[in-house]
Symmetry: C2
Subunit: 249 residues, 2 copies
């Protein structure tokens, strides 16, 4: 897979930080670090050129093969499986790759899969609610499943299925709102992150600063708010009754 090979060069600029961490914490002598910095810098220079070459020379040949596509065949098994390559999945994938982890990403939107592949970001096209696809991706041996799709019911169904088949696999799930948290919690997700919750808190914090509050105090208050709301949501998740209407819980 040439694209995947190219993508390995991609996280280059992140290397600067890891190296400076290592030097700061005394894990690495400075001259070794300097040599590595040079390698990182060169790889960053070369990566875009490699991508251009790939686009001009290799990609056209590959895409001639099939226009209407069935689910991709997943030929690799990585310890992290990410479902959904949208706004959340893309960033999570990039962050984990930057830290040296290996991921397999599955998305059901052809345009996203093909558009991102032109940037060397690899994902597989397929419907993650099909258990067979997850098994093919090596979920039996995986260390972590991240469900980052934006379809509420599917996220719950996948969580339920995977939890039943793999009781010890950690599952991090993206939730639409509070009610969705309760559903994912009952389905067996290990960690649940509301997709707009942190942004809302950051908005509040920014507002406090605009209104003249000291930045440190605004941060303290928004962090407290985060923990309070999270605690309350967890307690609610345990007590949630799915048979009551929207404003009944």
């Amino acid at each position: 897979l040439p694209l995947f090979t190219l993508a390995l060069a991609q996280a280059g600029e992140f290397g600067f930080v890891l190296l400076s961490f290592a030097v700061q914490h005394g894990d690495m002598p400075e001259d070794t670090a300097e040599r590595l910095l040079l390698v990182v810098a060169l790889s960053m220079l070369l990566t875009p050129l490699l991508f251009i070459a790939y686009d001009k020379l290799l990609a056209p040949r590959a895409s001639r093969d099939g226009l209407k596509r069935e689910a991709d065949v997943i030929a690799e098994e990585n310890p992290i499986i990410i479902l959904g390559h949208g706004r959340v999945g893309q960033l999570v994938d990039n962050l984990l790759l930057s830290c040296g982890y290996h991921t397999t990403v599955i998305d059901y939107d052809v345009e996203t899969v093909e558009g991102l592949s032109r940037f060397g970001v690899k994902s597989y096209f397929g419907d993650a609610s099909q258990p067979a696809l997850l098994e093919a991706a090596g979920i039996a041996k995986a260390k972590l499943l991240i469900i980052a799709i934006d379809q509420r019911e599917q996220a719950v169904a996948i969580t339920e299925h995977v939890r039943r088949a793999h009781p010890n696999l950690p599952i991090i799930a993206r939730a639409y709102d509070r009610i969705h948290v309760y559903e994912l919690y009952n389905a067996g997700a290990s960690a649940i992150i509301r997709e707009t919750f942190d942004a809302a808190i950051r908005t509040g914090r920014t507002a406090l600063e605009v209104l003249g509050m000291d930045a440190e105090k605004a941060q303290e208050i928004s962090e407290f708010y985060y923990h309070r709301d999270r605690h309350a949501t967890q307690q609610m998740a345990e007590a949630y009754d799915p048979n009551l209407p929207r404003f009944g819980n």
Copy 2:
């Protein structure tokens, strides 16, 4: 407005924190704080009872009056105007009220406005893309506008209009994704917060911890990642060309 009066009691539990902050920083003698704590605790006990009483006694009488509603008449002028009372607007409003600020919230979804009003959370029904509504809400004297609606084009149009009419008003805007950031930036928003960006970073950070990374290091990395991406996005916003396609920018 009896509901609004009731809502004043609501932020009670937040009082605990403010009080403990005050004592910690030596702003308040401990015995005064203890007496205030008792008041806060009592008010928290009483608030739900007051709401129940409101629901049973006052609300049915009020809602008999009109079922099909036109845009509400906004009779108050508050220094903060929040557009959108969904997942983001609700939380921002609650956080700001908790800190003692006064807000006017406008939403175009009747179910949301009425559902939340049953919990004593006041908002006005209306279409915020109508300049007249914003003027009636006192935007000329406001200190801050927060656009927390989930309609991309409307958010850009409102930002453009308000920026033209009130060049010095701070505008905090909720963005759908990176492209939307560029559009809001060009429209004149003062601060822009991507609605799933922070959640994606938190997901990555949680993943790093699940995979065995030290919590402090995971936080350091995700904070670095946040600043790097934000910086890149700001640079892109300045260079953005709206005439190029999705993957062309």
